[in-house]
């Protein structure tokens, strides 16, 4: 496992002299592809594309936290909820989307810092258990302060209609992928630098890292805060796509799915985060079609659930580096 991850890590983070594409170039190409797609795909596919973008924000942040820094968070669904609710409250008061997204990120970052401070003192299952408790507390908060959050029913999000020149779905895809690509760019640059080295050092050997003069706690809190900011952005984007927020949109299963997504894609790899985000959208859709073909409603949601679980266990046992570490990635992707 460690060996694989080291290999993985070196590959992502080796200095630019190794002839890899600059992240900026990748992002620009990605943006071009997304824009092209929004003009060719039918509206529903464009909407799904937007959802992938929103998921990519959170999976990218989470894979850096878990893969590079070794902290497992089961509470990122709750952080997404924080971002989403912040955006909803902001929009319903001021209706200024761009500022609202920034505010959502800031608020989630603050919440993430609090959890991160506690998390930095915890390891392994303790951290997982704590963040799990965070994940299930969302509905409780929403209904205790129902004057603000409107309990289970949640809030609707006021949005201005998009410019006349584009459809709603195109606009959603642009907003989401704008956020996603900026996130990926920021994380790629961040993990290539000193911070990335610190994180990996802390993950691999805390004592050695401490001897090397790295502050363990600061590195871990920073990693958590960074990934929380990403989750906040993702939450805000989901609020924009869904035009509503409610506790039901951020259940425990979401947090588990996020972990599943980054593990399947390959921990610590932004490619893996992308694969994971795609699977999160594609698998339920495929399962729905299978369920419909089989004429069984019981299959629908459950087929995806089971499949996610099986893949998660098999990948952890057989290829802890994730799908992205396999040598033939394109074949895997051909099945979308």
């Amino acid at each position: 496992m460690t060996v694989v991850r080291d290999r993985v890590a070196t590959r992502i983070a080796s200095p630019p002299m190794h002839r890899r594409l600059s992240p900026l170039l990748v992002v620009v190409i990605g943006a071009a592809i997304v824009v092209a797609l929004t003009y060719t795909l039918p509206p529903f596919r464009t909407y799904q594309l937007a959802t992938v973008g929103a998921y990519l924000c959170v999976t990218a942040g989470l894979t850096v936290l878990t893969g590079l820094n070794g902290q497992l968070s089961l509470g990122h669904g709750a952080l997404m909820a924080t971002g989403a609710y912040t955006l909803a409250l902001w929009q319903n008061k001021f209706n200024l989307l761009a500022v609202g997204i920034v505010v959502a990120i800031l608020v989630t970052t603050a919440v993430g810092a609090v959890i991160g401070l506690a998390a930095a003192r915890l390891r392994g299952p303790y951290l997982a258990g704590l963040t799990l408790a965070v994940a299930v507390v969302v509905p409780s908060i929403a209904s205790t302060f129902d004057g603000t959050f409107n309990s289970d029913q949640g809030l609707s999000v006021i949005l201005n209609p998009p410019p006349d020149t584009m459809t709603v779905e195109q606009w959603q895809a642009w907003v989401c992928w704008g956020g996603a690509l900026l996130t990926v760019l920021a994380l790629a640059l961040l993990t290539r630098g000193r911070f990335g080295r610190d994180m990996r050092a802390v993950r691999d050997d805390e004592t050695a890292a401490r001897l090397a003069g790295i502050s363990i706690a600061r590195t871990q809190v920073t990693a958590f805060v960074v990934s929380a900011a990403c989750a906040g952005l993702a939450g805000a984007l989901f609020a924009v796509i869904a035009q509503s927020v409610s506790p039901g949109a951020f259940p425990l299963t979401l947090s588990l799915f996020l972990v599943m997504a980054i593990v399947i894609g390959g921990l610590g790899r932004l490619t893996g985060a992308l694969i994971g985000a795609l699977l999160l959208v594609a698998l339920p859709a495929v399962a729905h079609e299978i369920g419909e073909a089989a004429g069984s409603q019981r299959l629908e949601g459950n087929l995806a659930l089971t499949f996610f679980g099986v893949v998660l266990v098999v990948v952890m046992l057989a290829a802890p580096g994730g799908l992205a570490s396999l040598r033939i990635p394109l074949k895997k992707k051909g099945q979308r």
């Binding site: 299952p125 408790a133 659930l305 996610f308």
Partner: protein, 292 residues
């Protein structure tokens, strides 16, 4: 005062279930250094089997026994087929695999039984006796106390009085030495998982009739409470987990009763945070425990 008494007994009754569940977590943690995040889902799975049997035969008790046996088998199976092959170099791996099992179990249960709540009947009346005009305890509560008490006593006897129990402890604490001494460490691990899963099944059978009924995700919240209980008691201490379970049960009951049910999950989180940050080895721990 009536209300306080009622909440106390209600809390103890729920706490006893959390205690049993926490005990199951501790059993596995001591043996393998894995927190079995799939414990709740496994318990639900065996409860589904139990109620299927009970419905088919009309006998709750047959179903109850089937639940415990199914727990033993499922626990052993999970250890043999999956957990044994988990790479333990990072504590994340065990957690992630357990979460994968949660998804699989919940998905399969949903496919077989559907995702609606099914009734989970109680073997005894849940009508409370009136004691001095105050409704305190029902027959069912007494059954819960008796069942959990029996489990605690039996496990204590097993681990302190029998050679199998001693071997299990040895295999958990010093696997290499035990292996040299001829203890079948692998077999002991399997046995540990089987026992733990059976205790988890028992807890599931006890708690499900008091809630909405059978549902693939019915134990999610119970799991959080039980995990908190185990942490409060110190993950290494079986007695601590029992005391922790009762504490969490009481806390939840008082908080729900006086402040409102919606506050309860926040109280669990707060307790977990406070204990983890101030006494990470648990309130009752003597030795300095490890962090992972």
């Amino acid at each position: 005062m009536d209300r306080f008494l009622f909440l106390t007994f209600d809390g103890l009754s729920r706490g006893a279930v959390y205690a049993a569940f926490a005990l199951a977590l501790v059993l596995i943690w001591r043996a393998t250094r894995i927190v079995n995040f799939a414990q709740g889902a496994m318990a639900v799975a065996t409860a589904y089997v139990a109620y299927s049997v009970a419905d088919a035969t009309g006998s709750y008790w047959l179903g109850f026994i089937v639940a415990l046996v199914a727990g033993l088998l499922l626990g052993a199976g999970v250890e043999r087929v999956v957990m044994r092959f988990v790479d333990h170099s990072s504590p994340l791996n065990g957690v992630v695999v357990a979460l994968g099992l949660v998804l699989i179990i919940q998905g399969v249960l949903g496919m077989i039984y559907g995702n609606e709540f099914r009734p989970a009947t109680a073997p005894f009346s849940r009508d409370a006796f009136d004691i001095g005009g105050v409704a305190l305890l029902s027959r069912y509560d007494l059954f819960v106390f008796a069942a959990v008490g029996a489990v605690v006593v039996l496990l204590t006897l097993l681990f302190t009085r029998t050679s199998t129990g001693l071997r299990m402890r040895a295999a958990a604490f010093a696997p290499d030495v035990s292996r040299l001494l001829g203890v079948p460490v692998g077999g002991m691990l399997t046995l540990g998982w089987a026992l733990a899963a059976a205790v988890g099944s028992l807890a599931g059978m006890l708690v499900l009739p008091t809630e909405l009924g059978l549902h693939p995700t019915a134990m999610d919240i119970v799991f959080i409470s039980a995990f908190t209980a185990a942490v409060v008691g110190g993950l290494d201490s079986p007695i601590g987990s029992v005391l922790g379970g009762l504490m969490v049960g009481l806390l939840l009951s008082y908080i729900s009763g006086y402040l409102g049910a919606t506050v309860a999950p926040m109280a669990v989180l707060a307790l977990l945070v406070v204990v983890l940050l101030s006494r990470p080895d648990g309130l009752f721990a003597r030795s300095k425990a490890r962090t992972a």
